[in-house]
Subunit: 279 residues, 2 copies
């Protein structure tokens, strides 16, 4: 990692906490802020952060890198609060599952030159500091988005930051990122929620499921504090994804209702070709 | 296992092949039939079966236990073909994901006294002899269904058979089994298919998914030869499950469209209570 100055991580949940674990293990100076004082206390005691950042965020004036690792509705608010203190940071980045809004916020605050949007594809259904761990980003993809004015120094720092923890940075356009995530990540979250809600409504316990059913309910246990704002912010692409999936489900329901085995075989065949394609 | 005579397994796929692996490792005499000659040849060479059963099924006259391990539309046909030869078997059972139809077939063929419907909850998206392996049933639940006339000797043999391979037999009513499976197993199979079909329709590759999205597509790679007949046979309960889930999805879509964060939080909360309940 090229950063030699302090890395301030705002939010010590699964992603922020895991980044703190990895960076401190690499010898970086890591400072941490979390609204939950238990999280910063545990991180400090574990030696994962060198310093607790107070709610006044004053310490950010001395941070070289600032990472926003909070829910997507909090990140712009926190960035605005921190705005005066992070003018001299070499890199400001985030980790959210949606990228357009935080990029717009950074631009509106005049922070475009040092801002890079990051989204490590490394989340799971567990949340908070207790879920954080070393090695979370190993072999993970990280989508990186430039603002119109992101400087090459900040860009290089962002790539180096994620590479240092084993991730593979990939450049993405923010709007394209958000549109794809609606299908690849936000839609399955909704499907898992609907499936678990269906079982719950019929009092079928999770223990009754086989491996396939359990796979399909895992995401449903995710944090609503994280997901609610993602759904709100990415509502338009998400509704597109939902409509597309509901059309698929409607076609499958029709095939079952008509006892149309050929239509079902074709649905499986279409998906098997997709499944077999590793690219 | 109490069986001392030969166990004939008809169908050496994931379930039948794995049962053959376990029983032969326990020292049982295992005979195998499969329409795919490569499967029986490999099973014989691996020493997993002691004898290949020919398509005329004559060998079944000397089998003490007969296990139907073929797709649910094939099992009744095979049972009818084998009917004259299995009159003296002490136990006839199957492994299908639907139980009403095969139980009715056994009754219609006058085989009720020795028939027990079995459904080991141990499937996964892989299929065929190459996917079969030792230990598949360890700690798995096996739902067992009695016909109106199942004798206690056959019932005890069925329990002992599954216990011998590490599974836990649980008695279930066939109709209740099929209704629950529509929700717990057949519905998530359809959801996974619809989700994979959605991604495929937008040319979003599987490699773009995170862990949650990958979980949600795993079932989609399952065998259509196995699932098509299950959907056909269990269409009525499956349509009930689909309607229930579509109503849940519709409510979630409405909440996103209205930007109704409270409704989303409530959906997560309802499911979190269900997820936390381990029973």
């Amino acid at each position: 990692m090229t950063a030699t100055g302090p890395v301030a991580i705002l939010g010590l949940g699964l992603i922020g906490g895991s980044l703190a674990h990895d960076l401190s293990a690499l010898g970086a100076t890591v400072w941490g802020f979390d609204a939950d004082k238990a999280a910063t206390r545990h991180a400090r005691r574990a030696g994962v952060i060198d310093r607790v950042i107070d709610a006044n965020l004053r310490a950010l004036s001395d941070a070289e890198t600032v990472v926003l690792a909070v829910p997507v509705d909090i990140a712009p608010v926190l960035l605005e609060q921190a705005c005066a203190r992070v003018q001299h940071a070499a890199l400001i980045t985030d980790v959210g599952s949606t990228k357009r809004r935080i990029m717009q916020s950074a631009a509106a605050l005049g922070l475009s030159a040092t801002f890079v949007g990051s989204h490590p594809i490394a989340g799971d259904h567990r949340a908070g500091w207790p879920a954080s761990r070393r090695g979370l980003f190993a072999d993970a993809r990280v989508d990186l988005c430039r603002t119109a004015d992101t400087g090459s120094a900040a860009w290089k720092r962002a790539r180096a930051l994620w590479r240092s923890v084993g991730a593979t940075p990939t450049e993405r356009d923010a709007a394209m990122h958000d549109a794809e995530m609606a299908f690849s990540s936000h839609l399955p979250q909704i499907l898992s929620l609907a499936f678990a809600g269906t079982l719950s409504s019929r009092a079928i316990a999770r223990s009754r499921l086989g491996g396939g059913g359990r796979d399909m309910t895992r995401m449903a246990a995710s944090s609503p504090a994280m997901w609610g704002p993602i759904f709100m912010e990415n509502a338009v692409p998400l509704l597109d994804a939902l409509e597309t999936c509901l059309a698929q489900l409607g076609a499958l329901r029709g095939a079952v209702a008509r006892r149309d085995r050929r239509a079902l075989q074709e649905a499986f065949a279409a998906v098997q070709a997709w499944t077999a394609n590793k690219t």
